[in-house]
């Protein structure tokens, strides 16, 4: 009789492939992603009177504020698109990006307690943040659709087929938030300075992105600089598709895609590197 062959199902060691996202493992933990998303949902509206109505209240009031300040007082151009729709689109997209970015970038610092006690693929956390924000975005998008239909009947918007690119745009934005969020979350475990930077950086970044103004309002060097911002292509494509207004070209979106995938790869590498030992530095 011979001993059964010894087999190992896993090896724990310091070596690892930097580009390996362990997606297979993440897939195995899909139920955890679902639970995290549910937790975010349940916990944000517990003991509130209006509950999920807050999903609408936030963008409506922000849009109104922009309408008054940027639309009427500062009188910024909206490329001739209905102002309220223009700002709502910007606010909605921007909210999705900024909440996803700030959410993912606190992955390690915010979950140190759990991470220190139990192992699961760390990528689960940022992914669940991006998904739970996607839910919010979905609800706000319904609001946008209702408004948009009104203006469509009034014949104030001229949509085109680019509106079908919306899912792709959203995914791009999610990946962008995920990539940069992973970079920030990994680096902030050791260098907390980046937290400070992120705090005001995100609010400043909004002004570098065509949220409250169209790219066509920019001139010269500023316009050129705006093209380097991966969000420019996404925002302009969305507004072009739905409102028929905007300075949009395919290469612009292509460039955004390339930059975003580069940042995602970089984020993955850094995230993977930090993931193994962050408990020792956090």
């Amino acid at each position: 009789m011979s001993e059964p062959q010894q087999k190992w199902t896993e090896t724990i060691e310091d070596n690892h492939s930097l580009f390996d996202l362990k997606l297979k493992e993440v897939w195995r933990y899909k139920d955890l992603i679902y639970m995290f998303v549910k937790r975010d949902f349940v916990s944000s509206f517990k003991q509130t009177v209006l509950g999920p109505l807050w999903f609408f209240i936030n963008p409506i009031f922000t849009t109104l504020a922009y309408l008054i300040i940027f639309g009427n007082i500062a009188n910024l151009s909206t490329d001739g698109a209905p102002k309220i729709l223009f700002y709502l689109a910007g606010v909605m997209l921007w909210n999705y990006f900024s909440t996803s970015l700030t959410g993912t970038s606190s992955t390690f610092a915010g979950n140190a307690g759990i991470f220190g006690k139990v192992y699961f693929p760390r990528l689960v956390t940022p992914i669940s943040v991006v998904i739970s924000n996607l839910m919010r975005f979905g609800v706000q998008f319904l609001l946008f659709l209702v408004m948009w239909l009104y203006f469509l009947i009034e014949k104030q918007v001229q949509p085109n087929l680019w509106m079908l690119a919306t899912p792709f745009l959203i995914i791009l934005m999610a990946l962008f938030a995920l990539g940069t969020g992973m970079i920030f979350s990994a680096l902030t475990t050791k260098y907390r300075d980046l937290n400070m930077l992120l705090g005001f950086g995100v609010s400043l970044y909004m002004y570098a992105t065509p949220v409250i103004y169209p790219v066509s309002a920019l001139k010269g060097i500023w316009k050129e600089l705006a093209y380097y911002n991966p969000l420019t292509g996404i925002f302009e494509c969305f507004k072009y598709g739905w409102l028929g207004k905007g300075d949009f070209s395919v290469p612009m979106l292509g460039a955004s895609t390339v930059i975003i995938f580069f940042l995602l790869a970089l984020g993955t590498v850094i995230f993977n590197k930090v993931e193994k030992t962050f408990m020792d530095t956090v």
Binding site: G116, Y119, F278
Partner: protein, 426 residues
């Protein structure tokens, strides 16, 4: 068939304030890596002995650990505080990676370094069972299948749809442990989580642990300070000291080695006080008489303290006291010699004192004892050096009634009461 094998694993930590100066170390590391050289900081570092001040900022929390664990073994990992037990568990549960070396595993690992990880106060008990189960690696299907069993085990059925922030801490812990106890994994790693809940629930947990190791044939790694529990649950042991393995093998052998190793260091049963001629009265030395010549003390052993004291100038009403504290620094018992002949006579000279503690005074646990001389009439501390203390551990008597059923006696004292019964009807 092996379930787990550790090969030369080591773990290095940086002491002090991580964050200051790390950028320069990181850059230096990076520069060495670029040139294909070894990490310069891996060479330095010393064995981890927390009591001596080291020379370097880097310490090896674990060094050159090698061991193999057979499938179905229940392995107790023991050692003093800071020996590297928790670090080893962290490595095994993949919370952090080893600095060098490899760990091979065969089968799913579930680790319980804490119960209730990720519980969200706003969510109901039901939702938290699913959340916590998912965090521990269970799928929704598995949890659904075991849900009733989990709720039943926890005994909080009535509150299962109430947010857990409304739970008492006991209920919270019960529910959390119930989830953990129903994990399906080939290898289970447990860190002292059993020290939770009330006595009844502890009993249930220990019972469940026993089932897991004995009945279900799973591999279990168990870290605990409760030597009695380790002895009962584990058949193999690993003894760590300063980050190195000093003994592995059968649990009894490892425990014996533990006794030998720490007999002098931890179980210091004799105190010699520094002589101070300026004190009117002074304790010269105290000895805890060991019941037998081995270093283990059981609950039903009779403990005896033997004092030598000197009275240079007689002080009115001066009495000698014993303060007995448990691990949590609660004063469990206080006694004094004001009933002795020495106290009544209050003469100068040297005295020998004996204090015999009541049988079954203490239950399982670690204790420290300090000694002092006070005089209430002068409202004076005459002699009190709190740093001088005797520390010892008490284990549940193996032949006790409760121990037959694997139960550790609850409560802080184990003094037996007199029970009188008379039958008045058939």
């Amino acid at each position: 068939m092996l379930a787990l094998k550790a090969e030369n694993i080591s773990k290095q930590y940086r002491l002090g304030q991580v964050g200051t100066g790390t950028l320069s170390h990181d850059l230096n590391r990076f520069w060495h890596k670029v040139r294909g050289k070894e990490d310069p900081y891996l060479k330095i570092g010393e064995a981890n002995d927390r009591s001596t001040k080291g020379l370097s900022d880097y310490v090896w929390s674990l060094q050159d650990i090698n061991f193999e664990i057979e499938q179905g073994d229940a392995v107790g990992i023991i050692g003093r505080n800071g020996a590297g037990k928790s670090t080893l568990l962290k490595l095994l549960s993949k919370v952090t990676k080893p600095t060098t070396g490899k760990i091979y595993t065969n089968g799913r690992i579930a680790s319980l370094l804490e119960v209730g990880t990720g519980f969200h106060p706003e969510m109901t008990g039901r939702e938290n069972v699913f959340l916590n189960g998912a965090i521990l690696g269970m799928t929704r299907k598995e949890i659904t299948r075991k849900f009733d069993e989990i709720v039943d085990f926890s005994g909080v059925e009535r509150y299962i749809d109430t947010p857990v922030k409304r739970y008492s801490s006991g209920m919270y812990v019960r529910l959390a442990f119930a989830v953990a106890a129903h994990l399906e994994s080939e290898i289970l790693i447990v860190d002292e989580v059993l020290a939770v809940g009330d006595a009844e629930f502890q009993k249930k947990c220990l019972g469940k642990m026993g089932d897991v190791t004995k009945g279900e044939g799973r591999t279990v790694l168990f870290v605990s300070h409760n030597l009695a529990a380790v002895r009962r649950l584990c058949n193999k042991g690993i003894l760590l000291k300063n980050g190195k393995i000093i003994s592995t093998g059968m649990m009894d052998n490892v425990l014996n080695r533990y006794d030998l190793e720490f007999a002098s260091a931890e179980k210091n049963f004799i105190i010699n006080y520094p002589v101070d001629e300026s004190k009117k009265m002074q304790i010269l030395n105290v000895e805890l008489k060991k019941p037998y010549d081995h270093n283990r003390i059981f609950t039903d052993d009779i403990l005896e303290f033997n004092f030598d004291i000197v009275s240079r100038i007689p002080v009115e009403n001066a009495y000698v006291t014993i303060d007995l504290k448990n691990n949590d620094d609660d004063l469990i018992y206080w006694t004094s010699d004001y009933t002795s002949e020495r106290f009544t006579m209050a003469e100068s000279g040297k005295w020998n004192l004996k204090c015999i503690l009541p049988k079954n005074l203490l239950t399982t646990g670690s204790y420290t004892v300090t000694f002092a001389i006070y005089s209430p009439s002068n409202n004076l501390v005459i002699d009190h050096l709190p740093k001088y203390q005797i520390a010892f551990e008490i284990e549940e008597d193996e032949n006790s009634f409760l121990q037959q059923f694997g139960i550790v006696r609850p409560g802080k004292t184990g003094i037996e009461s007199q029970w009188i019964s008379s039958k008045y009807s058939s």
